[in-house]
C-alpha cells in the first residue's frame, strides 16, 4: 500500500488534509458544503525534513499507538517511518508545555524552525458535489471477555498485537517473543471469533477477515520458525475467497492443528507464564458418544479479535443523514443493486465501514464508489426531485412557524412577511406542510389531497378489518421492503401509505383515518436519532402526543393511535410490529369505531382554529 499512499500524497488533483476532521456537512447532492477542522500539528510539514533531531532531545515517553503500546514514542514523533505526509507531529497533550521555561528543547534544535508552539486549528470550507465515506473499522477490545484473561495474563495478546510483534518494523524488529520473558514461544494457540459471532456480547456477525488472518499468521510462524507448534481453536473456518482454501490446506500441511471448539476459559501457570486452555473438541467423540474434553498447555495465546464499526460512525451518520444495519455498519441503498450508494443521494461508501471485508474487497468497493461519484461529477448538473414545498402567498398568515421547524433552514421568514421556500435547499420532508394551520403550504407530489384520498380509498371497504399505517420512505417503508425481500411473513391486515417523512403526516390525516373507521392507526418513521431529514421526526412526536390528548378528550382510546420507529434494516421488527398492531386491532370494538367516527368529526370553528395556531406559533 505504501506506493499508493505516496501517490495520494503527491497527486496534483488530491488535496490531502491529515490530522483533520469533517465538522459539518450542509447542502444536498451536487452541492454539499463541508467544514473541515485542520488540527494544529505544531510542526510545519512544509518545512520539516524529518531529520529526527527533535526526537533525540524530547524527554517525554508515551506508549506508541502505532506499535499497539508495545513500545514508546516521544511527545514529538513521526507516526511511522512510511507515514504520508512524512512529517513530525507534536502531541500537545503529551508535551511538557509550550512554555520555553518548561521545556522547548525540540524547538531549540530544529534548524528548519518548523516547530511552532502557537500553531492553531484551522477551519477550511470546501464545496463538493459528492462524498465518499471510507472511515473503516475499529478492532474489538477483548477486555470484556474476561474468561480469556487478556488483561490478566501477560502472554495473551490480540491478533493486532501479533502483527506488530512479527513485523520487522515492529518493537522487537520482527523477533517474535512473548511479553512476559521475551523468550520465543514454541507452542502458540489462536482463539477464533473473539468478539464475533457472539450474540451474548451483542456482536452476532462474522468479522470476515479473522479466519484468514489466523491462517496467514500460522504460515508466517511456520516460515520464520519451523519448530513452532500452532493450535487454532475455531467454530468454523471461513476460507471462501479466491485461493483461500489453498492457504488453509497449506497451513494444515505445516502441522498447524485445527481444533473445533472454543475454550471456556484460560488459566495461567504463575511460574512459567504458560497458559492452559480446556476445550471441548467437537470433532472427537469419546467412548460415551460425547465430545472429548482436551487440555492444551501453550506458551502464548493469540485472540483473533473481531472488527467493530468505527467510533465516528454515528457522528458521520448524523452529518450526512445515513443509517446503519443491525450490526452497526452503514446501510447501503440496496443490498444487491446499489451496494455502494448511501440512501442520501450523492454519498457513497467504500471499505470496511459498510461491512467487514478484506483489502481486496475494500479496493474493489472503492473503485465502484469512485466511479459512481465520478459519474455524478461528470454530469455537471442534476435534477432535484420535484417533491419540494410551495407556499401560497395569499393563504400564508405570516406566522413563521414553518420557518422555525424546517430542519434545513430552507424557509425564510421575517416578522410581518410572507414565508418563502428556497427550493434548492428544501429536501421535501413535509414537516412544514403538516404544521401549517392555514393550508398555505403544498408539498408537491405529497399533497394533502393525495394523501387524504389514499386514506379514504383504503378505508372504503371493511375498515374495521384494517390496520392503517403511515410509513416514511427511508426507514419504516424500507423496513417493510426488507421484510419482503427476506420473505418474513406477517399479518395481512395492514395497509401502508408512504410519505417521505413521518413528519409529513398531519393531524387531519390521522383523524380522517379514524373518521373513516380505522380501528388502529400507526405512524412510523426512522429511529429518533436517525431521521433521514436531520430531526424532522421530532415534529412527528410532538404531533402524535397532541393527537393522543385530542383522542383522550374525545373519549377515543389513545392506544388506537400508535407510534413506532422502524429502520430500513429492521424487516423483522416491521413484521413484529404489524402482528402487534393486528392484536391491538382485535381489541377495538365496532362500538368504539363508531364512537370515534362521530366524536372526531371536524368542528368548523374558524376563530378557534386561528387562535390555536397563533398559540403554537408563539
Amino acid at each position: 500500500m505504501g506506493p499508493k499512499a505516496i501517490d495520494a500524497g503527491r497527486h496534483p488533483n488530491i488535496e490531502l488534509l491529515t490530522y483533520s476532521e469533517v465538522e459539518e456537512v450542509s447542502g444536498y447532492v451536487g452541492n454539499f458544503v463541508a467544514t473541515i477542522r485542520k488540527k494544529a500539528r505544531y510542526v510545519d510539514h512544509t518545512l520539516c525534513n524529518a531529520c529526527e533531531e527533535c526526537v533525540k532531545v524530547c524527554p517525554v515517553s508515551k506508549p506508541d499507538e502505532y506499535q499497539m503500546g508495545l513500545s514508546s514514542r516521544r511527545a514529538i514523533y513521526i507516526p511511522f517511518p512510511q507515514a504520508v505526509p512524512c512529517s513530525y507531529i507534536l502531541n500537545m497533550d503529551d508535551c511538557l508545555g509550550n512554555n520555553p521555561i518548561a521545556c522547548g528543547k525540540c524547538a531549540d534544535v530544529c534548524e528548519k524552525k518548523a516547530i511552532n508552539y502557537d500553531d492553531e486549528d484551522e477551519l477550511v470550507v470546501r464545496e463538493v458535489g459528492a462524498v465518499i465515506v471510507a472511515i473503516g473499522l475499529d478492532v474489538y477490545d477483548p477486555t470484556e471477555m474476561d474468561e480469556y484473561g487478556y488483561t490478566r495474563h501477560a502472554n495473551v495478546i490480540t491478533s493486532m498485537e501479533f502483527e506488530r510483534l512479527i513485523c520487522a518494523g515492529g518493537p522487537t524488529a520482527g523477533h517474535f517473543v512473548r511479553p512476559s520473558d521475551h523468550e520465543r514461544p514454541k507452542r502458540i494457540g489462536f482463539i477464533q471469533c473473539v468478539g464475533s459471532r457472539n450474540p451474548k456480547i451483542g456482536r452476532p456477525y462474522c468479522s470476515n477477515i479473522c479466519c484468514m488472518n489466523t491462517i496467514k499468521d500460522t504460515l508466517l510462524l511456520a516460515d520464520h520458525y519451523p519448530d513452532t507448534e500452532n493450535f487454532v481453536f475455531y467454530q468454523d473456518i471461513r476460507a471462501f475467497g479466491k485461493s483461500f482454501e489453498d492457504m488453509f490446506q497449506r497451513s494444515k500441511e505445516t502441522g498447524t492443528r485445527y481444533i473445533r471448539g472454543l475454550p471456556g476459559d484460560v488459566e495461567e501457570d504463575p511460574e512459567t507464564g504458560n497458559l492452559v486452555v480446556t476445550v471441548e473438541n467437537t470433532t472427537q467423540r469419546g467412548g460415551n458418544g460425547r465430545s472429548g474434553l482436551e487440555r492444551y498447555e501453550l506458551d502464548m495465546l493469540v485472540l483473533s479479535v473481531g472488527v467493530i464499526p468505527p467510533k465516528d460512525l454515528a457522528k458521520i451518520s448524523g452529518m450526512l443523514t445515513l443509517s446503519k444495519t443491525s450490526d452497526g455498519f452503514f446501510m447501503e441503498s440496496h443490498p444487491k443493486l446499489k451496494p455502494v450508494d448511501a440512501p442520501t443521494r450523492g454519498v457513497f461508501f467504500a471499505g470496511f465501514c459498510e461491512s467487514p471485508k478484506d483489502i481486496k474487497d475494500s479496493v474493489c468497493q472503492a473503485g465502484a464508489a469512485s466511479s459512481r461519484a465520478g459519474a455524478l461529477l461528470n454530469a455537471g448538473q442534476i435534477q432535484i426531485e420535484a417533491i419540494t414545498s410551495r407556499i401560497d402567498e395569499i393563504e400564508c398568515k405570516k406566522c413563521g412557524l414553518c420557518a422555525k421547524i424546517c430542519p434545513y433552514g430552507a424557509i425564510t421568514w421575517q416578522k410581518g412577511e410572507v414565508a418563502t421556500v428556497i427550493e434548492a435547499a428544501c429536501a421535501g420532508c413535509g414537516s412544514c406542510g403538516a404544521t401549517c394551520q392555514f393550508g398555505a403550504i403544498t408539498m408537491r407530489h405529497f399533497t394533502d389531497d393525495q394523501l387524504l384520498a389514499q386514506v379514504r380509498a383504503i378505508l372504503a371497504r371493511k375498515p374495521e378489518d384494517k390496520v392503517f399505517v403511515f410509513a416514511c420512505n427511508w426507514c419504516s417503508y424500507a423496513g417493510g421492503d426488507m421484510a419482503g425481500i427476506s420473505r418474513i411473513k406477517y399479518s395481512a391486515s395492514n395497509r401502508v401509505v408512504r410519505t417521505m417523512c413521518s413528519a409529513r403526516v398531519s393531524e387531519d390525516m390521522v383523524l380522517e383515518a379514524f373518521r373513516c373507521g380505522a380501528p388502529v392507526v400507526l405512524v412510523s418513521g426512522c429511529h429518533y436519532a436517525d431521521c433521514h431529514y436531520i430531526n424532522a421526526n421530532r415534529q412527528t412526536v410532538v404531533r402524535v402526543q397532541r393527537l393522543w390528548d385530542k383522542l383522550e378528550k374525545a373519549g377515543v382510546r389513545p392506544e388506537r393511535l400508535q407510534l413506532e420507529w422502524i429502520s430500513a434494516a429492521e424487516g423483522q421488527k416491521f413484521a413484529k410490529v404489524m402482528n402487534q398492531m393486528e392484536e391491538l386491532r382485535k381489541t377495538v370494538t365496532i362500538k368504539e369505531i363508531e364512537h370515534g367516527r362521530e366524536a372526531l368529526k371536524p368542528k368548523p370553528k374558524k376563530a378557534a382554529k386561528k387562535k390555536e395556531a397563533a398559540a403554537t406559533a408563539g
Binding site: 440496496h334 471499505g351 472503492a366 454530469a379 401560497d392
Partner: protein
C-alpha cells in the same frame, strides 16, 4: 392545498404485474385487474407478466396513446426500486413522469403473505385503490436543475479512501481527502504481511 378538482377529464391506466410467480403466486392478479377496472376514472386495466421488462413497458406506452391515458398506476414492486424505471417509461410516451404512481403489491404483499391468497388479494386491491385515488390528484411537476460542484470529498484515508481518491483524481476530478490521524494508511499501515498473497502490507 384547497382541493383542486382535476380540470381535465381523468383517464387512468392501471397495469398489474404478475412478476412471474413472484406476485401472481400469492395474489390473484386477474381479480385485482378486474377490480381496478371498476375504480373511478380508470380507462383501462391491463395485466402484465413482467411490467418492468421491455414488452411490459411498451404495453404501458401503447396504452397511453391508445386510451389517451393521462395518469398511470403500476401495481408491482416497491417504488424504492422501480419508480425511476416507470417514470422514464411514461416520459417516453410524452406523459409527465409525476403522473405515474406505484402500488407495492410485491414486497409489501405477495412476498410476505404467501399462504393466504384471499387476504393477499384483498390487500393488493386496497393498495391499487389507494394508488388510483392518489393518481386522481397527481399533477405534472417540473424538476429543478442544479449545478454540481466539481470536487469530491473522501472521508477516511485507509486503503479504501486512498484508492477512491486516486481513482477519482486519475479521472481528472479534484478531491479533498480528509484523514483524522496524522498519516493516511489506516489499519493496513499496522499490518505485517497480508493474505492471500503474503506480501508486505505497507
Amino acid at each position: 392545498m384547497v382541493s383542486q378538482p382535476p380540470i381535465e377529464e381523468l383517464r387512468i391506466g392501471v397495469f398489474v404485474c404478475d412478476c412471474g410467480l413472484n406476485i401472481a403466486g400469492a395474489v390473484d392478479c386477474g381479480a385485482v385487474t378486474e377490480y381496478a377496472e371498476t375504480l373511478p376514472d380508470v380507462a383501462c386495466a391491463v395485466r402484465n407478466k413482467y411490467t418492468c421488462a421491455d414488452p411490459g413497458q411498451n404495453e404501458i406506452k401503447d396504452a397511453i396513446h391508445k386510451h389517451r391515458l393521462n395518469r398511470v398506476v403500476v401495481a408491482s414492486c416497491t417504488p424504492r426500486q422501480h419508480e425511476p424505471t416507470f417514470r422514464q417509461c411514461v416520459r417516453e410516451a410524452d406523459l409527465n413522469p409525476y403522473l405515474m404512481e406505484m402500488a407495492n403489491i410485491r414486497e409489501h404483499c405477495s412476498w410476505v403473505h404467501p399462504n393466504d391468497r384471499e387476504a393477499a388479494t384483498d390487500k393488493a386491491m386496497d393498495l391499487v385503490a389507494s394508488a388510483v385515488a392518489r393518481a386522481r390528484f397527481l399533477q405534472p411537476q417540473e424538476e429543478l436543475t442544479v449545478p454540481v460542484s466539481k470536487r469530491a470529498l473522501v472521508i477516511g484515508g485507509g486503503v479504501a479512501g486512498i484508492e477512491a481518491a486516486i481513482e477519482l483524481a486519475d479521472a481528472g476530478h479534484k478531491v479533498t481527502l480528509v484523514e483524522k490521524e496524522a498519516s493516511i494508511g489506516g489499519i493496513m499501515a499496522q499490518l505485517d504481511k497480508t493474505y492471500p498473497t503474503m506480501d508486505c502490507s505497507i
